[in-house]
């Protein structure tokens, strides 16, 4: 009996957890290892297939080499692409979190009927395929697009339109990630007890103070999740920057596709992937570390009560 319950409590769950891990290790982990080795000049083993037809690759004579990374940072175009990737990701993530907070506050504390309308509206992007969304958004926001035509008829002609620029990419990323952001932050706000807010109001706290001293501190974790998940998604995004962005600078997700498909340089494409992956892993570490310290703080708080 004891043996059986240990089986149910420890070993079976572990084995169940291993099934998706196995899929991930074979079809994501192994390819990532191959890709990283390839960027260091290893063209043997399974990498021989891709290396056989590649142009301009750096091959390590013996051991490994940083040559491919040097080539990346020597190219001023690619440095510009990396910079564009970082600021587009940063800006779209910050805007998304701000907009998601406003909408979540509105759904929680605003007019109930309009809140219902808003909560249907912000869900829509979740259900529109990204290819369609990018196409619809760029025809709307481009220089000779639908919005420009509307503004033109109203006599406004000198406004720069963001379609086919990096700002267009920011708009596209905010549009597609909005449902995720609002869902997470609303759920966090819903979990703040109404009693707490009423108590704050009763002692005469202003909305700004309530926001900064109650709502924001209590929703650090949902906000952090939105920040990290959105930024990680934006860093490696392809469809939106490809259809909505400028030709140069490009986000690295687009550049790596070009280097692979058009220039036949898979190694440089993998160098870009590894660089983005490192940034994304750094962000994920922030998530795990601050989650841990937040949990510890909560544990201490509940003990002291």
């Amino acid at each position: 009996m004891r043996g059986r319950s240990r089986l149910a409590e420890g070993i079976l769950p572990f084995l169940a957890g291993c099934v998706p891990i196995l899929v991930v290790l074979v079809f994501t982990g192994l390819p990532i290892v191959l890709a990283v080795l390839y960027t260091f000049g290893d063209t043997g083993g399974l990498n021989a297939t891709v290396a056989a037809v590649a142009q301009h690759q750096v091959v390590a004579k013996d051991g490994l080499t940083l040559g491919a990374y040097r080539a990346f940072f020597d190219s001023s175009d690619l440095r510009a692409d990396l910079w564009a990737t970082l600021w587009i990701t940063g800006l779209s993530t910050v805007i998304l979190v701000a907009v998601a907070w406003v909408l979540a506050l509105f759904v929680r504390f605003g007019n109930r009927r309009l809140g219902h309308v808003a909560s249907t509206l912000y869900l829509i992007p979740m259900f529109i395929p990204v290819v369609i969304a990018s196409y619809a958004l760029v025809t709307f926001w481009e220089a000779n697009g639908r919005l420009a035509a509307l503004l033109n008829s109203a006599g406004i002609t000198h406004l720069g339109m963001p379609g086919y620029t990096s700002l267009g990419v920011v708009i596209g990323l905010v549009w597609t990630e909005l449902p995720f952001g609002v869902i997470l932050i609303s759920a966090g706000l819903q979990s703040v007890p109404a009693v707490l807010i009423d108590a704050g109001r009763d002692v005469g706290a202003s909305w700004v103070r309530l926001l900064w001293q109650v709502l924001v501190p209590l929703n650090k974790i949902p906000t952090l999740i939105v920040l990290i998940f959105t930024a990680v998604g934006a860093l490696g995004s392809f469809t939106i920057p490809d259809l909505m962005g400028a030709n140069s600078p490009q986000m690295l997700g687009v550049a790596m596709t070009d280097y692979y498909q058009s220039y036949g340089e898979p190694q440089m494409a993998e160098v870009m992937s590894v660089i983005i992956f490192l940034v994304a892993l750094g962000l994920s570490c922030i998530y795990v570390v601050s989650l841990r310290s937040e949990k510890r703080r909560q544990a201490m708080r509940s003990e002291s009560n």
Binding site: L12, F14, A16, G17, P20, I21, V23, V24, L25, F27, T28, P31, I32, A35, L46, N47, V50, F106, F109, N111, L121, Y122, L123, F127, P129, V131, I132, Y135, A136, T139, F140, A148, L150, N152, S153, I183, L184, G188, Q190, S191, P193, A194, V195, I221, P222, I225, V232, G236, F238, T239, M256, T257, A269, E270, S273, I276, F277, S284, V288, R301
Partner: protein, 302 residues
Amino acid sequence: MSVPLSTHSGVTDGAMRSAPADIAANPAAGQQRLGRLFSGGATGLLVVALGLFILGPLVLLVVAAFAQSWFYPSVFPSHWTLSWWLTVLDTSGLLESVKWSFVFAFTVTAVSAVVCLPAAYAFGRKSFAGKRLMMMTIFATGAFPKIGLYIAIASLFYSLHLMGTFTGVVIIQLLSTLVVMTWIPAAAFAAVPESLIEVARDCGVGPLRTFFSVTLPLARPTIIVAFILAFLASLDEAQGTFLIGVPTYVTMPVQMYNLVADYPAEATAVFAILLTVPSLVLLMVARKHIFSSTLAQGYHLR
């Protein structure tokens, strides 16, 4: 002051549920609070701006699908036609791509459920060595840029003879569903109150029956959302399907890429609408579940 941070533990889940109920029970209080935070004018402006931002591009895309031709600076098209619909429906390969999209979406969702749901149950309700590392691995590997991953997978697929095969495309699409299919159902299983399960067990109900008549029914709404999100992820996947599946397996988003490059904008608009219909049907089905707080819980690392 005790602050029930229910968001981060399954145990105090009840507190989380009761918060929205408070508002529902006392709408007047909610209205009064609104008066301070959002004035009437600001409210209207906010909803209108949101509507324009979200719906504007989509509505004008629908209009374009019925326009004969529509170029800047005309605000609206002057002549209307249905001919683009006939063009699109006549183009060979388009209906074929609709078929393949659905075949893959159903297959991928089913495979994903088989692979992930037992793990999700384990992540949600059991504690065992390496759990957090496992969940983090599933998330972190998703952080490697897709195209970089697909280039490397292509090498692997060549040696496994999976290039251009049905199985190859299923595997590629499966990878984009793993996070939603493990993290979200794990939260759903974790949210089932321990007390209910104990009651069932105390009454002498076996573990299997407890699972099928208590745990699973309570977790089902959120698991359905995970199914829908996995289905959508598969319907949406274009880059990997293109690299692995072409020329045999061309799905709707892959076809859409070709159209954006080769066809007039009006024909593209028609196809865009056709491609959106299945997703909108799913939106209708999922609308009432999608805003459950357990969905948001799905993105918390437990």
